[in-house]
């Protein structure tokens, strides 16, 4: 374990972008919190967890800071209310009332049925006033409906109630209470509510001890739900969650059919690196990935059989780390051709957490026409203009190094009959890093302290559902230091986060 006391000297940043200087405070300061609504996936997982029903909630994910979990991006809409109503109806149409009810369903049994379901769905014991209202609703429903139908309609009420839909937190003396803390911990690591053991620990007061929290977090991290959540983090962080919406390489490229496999690959790799391998460097420079047979064929693995994902060794002459995953390469590209700018921006913003300035208004942002040459040549021409080159120098040369992969993520050595020049540069005020091809770029990222800081920051955003503030500096420093001292064990950094002050603090009012 690593203590959370901050050092006065902030880690030097090597990013060339202007960095706002923040006063380092050595105690974590609560940031204003916004009430969090369950995300699409959290809703689905919670329904499965409480009612054992697989159901799809058909709403788009919110997308603040690139993540689906950010509260500030969550907006109410009539469309959402309708979809929640309709999904609740579908859920109760296929739920097994007999299996869920603690006693043969009847008017006598109904209070126990209601208490059991409310406690399961609300992620904590139902309160007396809630039970009184729900039992009254049961009586009202029963005047016209059967017991079975009343049970289903009542469950629809629970599914649309604020206690299920929102993560309402009771706060006291500046920290969240044990119940709310258990819920935070469970959602952070598993994307669903606390299981029985965690609830019991919360009720017993055991979670005031960080040692117990750490042990519970380790237990949760060994579950399938944690693997799923960590996979999802990587899919969102690396932008691959947008893959389903893009078209690449024309209708004959066979791209659309591979999208789900490409997304899954990133999830599998991320979960493997975090939970099995424990070295962040493997994510950027590892020689291994996960494919199913159709995606394997794309990589050039002939003869993979059966279904499902399996671990494979990469051809090191062509692929290395997540930078060369087809899904990542494809999503940061255009429909007909690559975009060194987008790929460079991806590295700057998503992997290094740099801030790029907004393009100035009314400058021409035109691409030279396809002229039979290479993309690199077109883009070099495009940023020759000094009005553009200032910013594009930060992005395009990084993307040039990834030019051996086309917009579908396929490996290539020539473009339009010309050999590809894959020399790239990541410019820095200290002179920058020159490289050729994806592998050395991946290796550079694998050892970069800026990347480690950024990974800590991205996890913080995903887990806390908000942007970091100056008051979170201590926690981010501690997470980063954990990564430094463990040679990039993200699992340990997550344990640092959930045992930090920040994780317990209630928001400023």
């Amino acid at each position: 374990m690593f203590d959370l006391a901050c050092r006065q000297s902030p880690a030097p940043t090597l990013n060339p972008e202007p960095v706002t200087t923040v006063e380092v405070s050595c105690t974590s300061q609560p940031a204003p919190l916004r009430l969090r609504r369950l995300t699409r996936l959290e809703w689905q997982h919670s329904v499965k967890q409480a009612l054992n029903v697989d159901v799809t909630l058909e709403i788009p994910d919110d997308e603040g800071l690139g993540f689906s979990t950010v509260a500030e991006a969550q907006a109410a809409s009539v469309s959402l209310a309708e979809k929640l109503l309709e999904a609740a109806e579908r859920t109760t149409a296929s739920m097994n009332v007999g299996e869920l009810s603690p006693c043969p369903l009847s008017d006598t049994c109904s209070p126990r049925f209601i208490a059991k379901l409310a406690t399961a769905l609300f992620r904590r014991p139902a309160r007396d006033d809630e039970l009184a209202r729900l039992n009254e609703t049961w009586r009202r429903l029963r005047t016209t409906e059967s017991e079975d139908m009343s049970a289903r309609l009542l469950t629809q009420v629970l599914l649309q109630s604020p206690a299920f839909l929102f993560r309402v937190e009771s706060t006291d003396a500046g920290v969240v209470d044990d119940e709310a803390f258990a819920i935070r911990l469970a959602f952070a690591l598993t994307g669903e509510g606390p299981d029985d053991r965690l609830r019991a620990l919360a009720a017993s007061g055991a979670l005031v001890s960080n040692q117990n929290v750490r042990a519970e977090a380790q237990r949760l991290l060994s579950t399938a739900a944690a693997r799923r959540t960590i996979g999802r983090f990587h899919v969102e962080w690396l932008g691959v969650s947008s893959l389903s919406r893009v078209s690449r390489g024309g209708p004959d490229a066979g791209f659309d059919d591979l999208k789900p496999s490409m997304e899954r690959e990133v999830a599998e790799l991320g979960a493997f690196v975090t939970l099995d391998d424990h070295h962040l460097s493997t994510l950027f420079s590892g020689k291994t990935t996960f494919v199913d047979p159709p995606l394997g064929a794309r990589y050039g693995f002939a003869g993979l059989e059966g279904e499902g994902f399996r671990r494979v060794q990469l051809d090191v002459l062509q692929r290395s780390g997540v930078l060369t995953a087809p899904g990542v390469l494809a999503v940061w590209a255009k429909s007909r051709g690559t975009s060194p700018t987008l790929r460079g921006r991806f590295v700057r913003e998503r992997l290094l957490c740099g801030k790029l300035p907004t393009p100035p208004p009314n400058v021409s942002m035109t691409l030279p026409a396809q002229n039979g040459g290479t993309t690199r040549a077109r883009f070099q021409q495009h940023v020759a203009d000094p009005a553009c080159s200032g910013c594009h120098q930060l992005m395009d040369p990084i993307g040039f190094g990834l030019e051996r992969y086309d917009e579908t993520g396929a490996f290539r050595l020539v473009e339009n009959g010309r050999a590809i020049d894959a020399h790239g540069e990541l410019t820095r005020f200290d002179g920058g890093f020159r490289f050729e091809g994806a592998e050395p770029l991946g290796q550079w990222l694998a050892q970069s302290s800026d990347v480690r800081r950024c990974v800590a920051t991205q996890w913080f955003r995903f887990t806390m559902g908000r942007a970091e503030t100056a008051g979170d500096r201590c926690t981010l420093d501690a997470m980063t230091r954990t990564l430094e001292l463990t040679d990039g064990d993200v699992r340990e950094a997550l344990l640092t986060l959930v045992t930090s002050d920040t994780f317990r603090l209630a928001g400023a009012p």
């Binding site: 500030e72 109630s161 929102f166 078209s247 429909s335 007909r336 021409s364 691409l367």
Partner: protein, 426 residues
């Protein structure tokens, strides 16, 4: 929010307020529609020209020929407010288009958050929306994301309103189940459930912080909107015929079919007087749609960034916008063929504004943005070509809102709105 709820309750009891008087005087209520298509235009192909006899439509706007006498094309309108506030060209264009206010500074989407004020459709809905089953109707065509680039409508409190992109769900919202018995049963069940749900919101709301309460109340308001729709019964008439239930098409090339279904449902919602305020959003700012059905094989946004001297790209962009003009004409045609009493059509009673977040895609310019105003506004709107010489779009929106009967005297950032744009209103 509270005042609106009170108004709704009052309306439920007595069907009060101005429109009753309007009906009594034999005039039809006005309708207000905003339509968005993305990525700027090719000005030379878009701008109509003066002729000795009057004016001629352009290659892009040619599909509006049947309605030329009911169309006003204001030239050289700028999103002047978009010179203020944070955001990149697309973000500012989309956020300012119907709100005419700066975006919020935030790290939510790069450097920006949501818009900082209500959109014109929602401001108009504050006066036109009280008596109908739906206060307003926000429709999208393949709006699959949820960022500032994909939201154009903002509630009176400044919350973004997600458009509904599934025609099947729109049909359900407008018309519900076909079998009257099943419909009645489902209505009763949904009402029981939502009443109890609202009971939970009402009980929790006072116990949480002020900030949490705002979130809970915003959600509860949407549930009330759903309930209000459940309460209302559509009265079929010669102009309001229940359509057959649509099957939502899927796949990347379903954009035209989805758009046609949404256009027809929007027109029907107005014809049935289920709502008087609607919006239709085609894709989003920086639309990634590949218009293959028009023979264009590259993403629209990517195409919009080609150089001015790329004749092939300009031809393709023109093709795309002409296709959008055909879809706009489809909406006008549906409204034109719907009688609205006194020998007028629904189009004559409507104010329809079609806009874009940019003037030109490859510069992200907010100048000379292509706007078209269609409909008669109940006799309040002019038609023809209007030289605005750099008019502020918020003044155009204000004029349109006034044409729809909304009692507004300014709109958006007041420093860019001196009053309704001259030459729009009769």
């Amino acid at each position: 929010m509270i005042s609106r709820r009170l108004v709704l309750r009052a309306a439920g009891v007595s069907l009060a307020l101005p429109w009753l008087e309007a009906f009594a005087q034999g005039t039809s209520p006005r309708r207000f529609v905003t339509v968005f298509s993305p990525n700027g235009t090719v000005l030379d192909s878009w701008a109509p020209t003066r002729t000795p006899m009057g004016w001629a439509l352009s290659p892009i706007l040619a599909p509006l020929a049947p309605f030329q006498s009911k169309v006003l094309v204001p030239l050289q309108v700028d999103l002047k407010t978009a010179t203020t506030g944070p955001g990149d060209g697309h973000q500012r264009g989309m956020g300012h288009l119907w709100t005419a206010r700066a975006l919020q500074s935030s790290s939510l989407f790069g450097n920006v958050g949501w818009a900082s004020g209500p959109s014109i459709d929602q401001v108009v809905a504050s006066s036109l929306g009280a008596e109908t089953a739906l206060r307003s109707l926000e429709l999208g065509v393949m709006v699959t994301e949820a960022t500032v680039l994909s939201r154009m409508s903002y509630s009176p409190a400044g919350f973004p309103l997600a458009p509904e992109s599934d025609p099947r769900a729109v049909f359900e919202r407008l018309f519900g189940a076909a079998d009257p018995l099943e419909a009645a049963r489902r209505r009763a069940n949904r009402k029981s459930v939502l009443d109890a749900v609202l009971g939970e919101f009402n009980a929790l709301s006072p116990k949480v912080s002020v900030a949490d309460r705002a979130v809970l109340d915003a959600h509860a308001d949407t549930i009330r909107e759903v309930e209000r729709r459940i309460d209302a019964v559509v009265a079929p008439s010669s102009t309001c015929v229940r359509p057959s239930e649509p099957v939502t098409p899927t796949g990347p090339d379903s954009f035209p079919q989805l758009g046609a279904l949404q256009t027809d449902l929007l027109a029907l919602a107005l014809a049935c007087d289920l709502t008087r305020v609607a919006s239709l959003q085609w894709s989003r700012s920086a639309s990634p749609i590949v218009h293959r059905w028009s023979g264009v094989g590259i993403e629209h946004h990517e195409l919009s960034h080609h150089t001015d001297d790329d004749a092939s790209a300009r031809a393709d962009i023109t093709t795309i916008h002409r296709w959008y003009a055909e879809q706009f004409a489809r909406l006008l045609s549906k409204l034109e063929s719907t009688p609205a009493g006194g020998g007028t059509s629904l189009l004559d009673q409507s104010v329809i504004i079609w806009g874009n977040e940019l003037g030109q895609g490859n510069t992200h310019s907010h100048r000379a943005v292509p706007f078209v105003v269609a409909g008669g506004g109940g006799g309040t709107l002019r038609s023809g070509l209007l030289e605005t010489n750099g008019g502020s779009h918020s003044e155009l929106l204000l004029a349109c809102a006034q044409a729809a009967g909304a009692p507004l005297t300014t709109f958006g950032d007041p420093s860019f709105c001196q009053g309704p744009m001259a030459g729009v209103l009769r």
